[in-house]
Amino acid sequence: MMLSLVASVGLMGGLQAQSVLTKQQLAGIARLDSLTIPTPGEFFVAMDKAGQPNWTQLFSSQSAALTSSREQMALMLGVLVADGYIAVEAQDSQGVKNTGKDIINLAKKLNVSQSILGRGNSISDFAENNDWAVLREELEATQNEVKLAMAEQKDDSLVTLVTVGAWVRGMQVASGYIASNYSPELAELLRQPSIVQFLLGQLAKLPEKNRATSQVVAVTGGLEAVLKIVSADPGQPLSSEAVSTLSAAMAGVVKMIAEVPKEES
């Protein structure tokens, strides 16, 4: 039995006889929020291989603005999830715990906390035990559980904003680091036009009342600017200047997400 199993399950290495996909097939591509967009953790693993970021220096948890805007809270929740990944990369146990608490508190304000309270405890426990590998998975699971709860309470538009917030924060931290430690290999990781297009497409589908909020307008504008930068000179790594411009644009967007709106202050 074992011999036949060995024969039958061996990996089939190399390029199999496959044909190029047809235009018709390429027209039917699925894109999913949960898989098409890489997690910040996935992005940071690639950064670790192309450079050696000092994650401790890069970790600076954003404090959630006291806002009544659900859109802003959802964007901020995504930012905090990305901060959680940075704290994990920095192996900052207290930072992970604090960020986990902030995520849960913000989820409470969005009325999606009940289902993820257990996740908050898990994050704290894993951080206490320095279980960094599991924490990366727990952060993604927490984010997905929040999104699921949002979808269940018919807040689908907020799901998009959590994804956008996490991606924007990841790009801000990554581009900020790469702007100061430029290498073509690192800069190449920032060229993500397909993701930006996907996120802009998702934002465009939001109901008008969500799209009109100042934070969503700012984020949309920021992503449009980013799309121009990362789409220029395809096939070439982003230049040092382009990375700096990208970093400034992302910092502006995150600041807008994190600060109290003028109309509320």
């Binding site: 996909l21 699925a30 996935e42």
Partner: protein, 148 residues
């Protein structure tokens, strides 16, 4: 990535033996079973340091109707895409293509109605993961992905 053959073998042994036992035929909507099998396969790669994404892709496979999912991958990372379908699917395949639809070189694994493709991109960017029913009848599927 090639030394994963043994890991995959060990991880899949349990499910392969389990499949010998008669099981009730699941319905087409029984995707949790497909997800369970896909995660079981992905679990074999976890032993080699791969982290399994929490999200999953599910639906229904039909003969002659392969399905495509866009994923965005980073140069330097390594990936495994693990798929599974349930009865009455008998054989499936998972393949990876670049954004223009050209096949890329992958490590492939297939066993009954589970299959996986391992890929280490040289270029960051969008790629397409295809899952296809090779033998059997219309059945639910699930695909998950792992990275390190």
């Amino acid at each position: 990535m090639k030394n994963l053959a043994l890991i995959v073998l060990m991880g899949v042994c349990a499910s392969a033996f389990a499949q010998e036992a008669p099981t009730p035929a699941p319905t087409v909507s029984d995707s949790p079973l497909a997800r369970s099998h896909a995660l079981e396969l992905a679990g074999a790669f976890a032993n080699d340091g791969y982290k399994v994404r929490d999200g999953f892709w599910s639906g229904t496979l039909e003969l002659g109707k392969p399905l495509l999912l866009e994923v965005n991958l980073f140069a330097g990372n390594e990936y495994w895409f693990s798929g599974a379908a349930t009865n009455p699917a008998r054989k499936i395949a998972v393949k990876v293509f670049d954004a223009k639809g050209k096949p890329v070189e992958t490590e492939l694994y297939a066993e009954i109605a589970t299959a996986a493709a391992g890929f280490a991109p040289v270029m960051s960017g969008p790629y397409l993961v295809q899952i296809e029913l090779m033998d059997g009848e219309k059945a639910p599927f699930c695909l998950v992905y792992s990275y390190k």
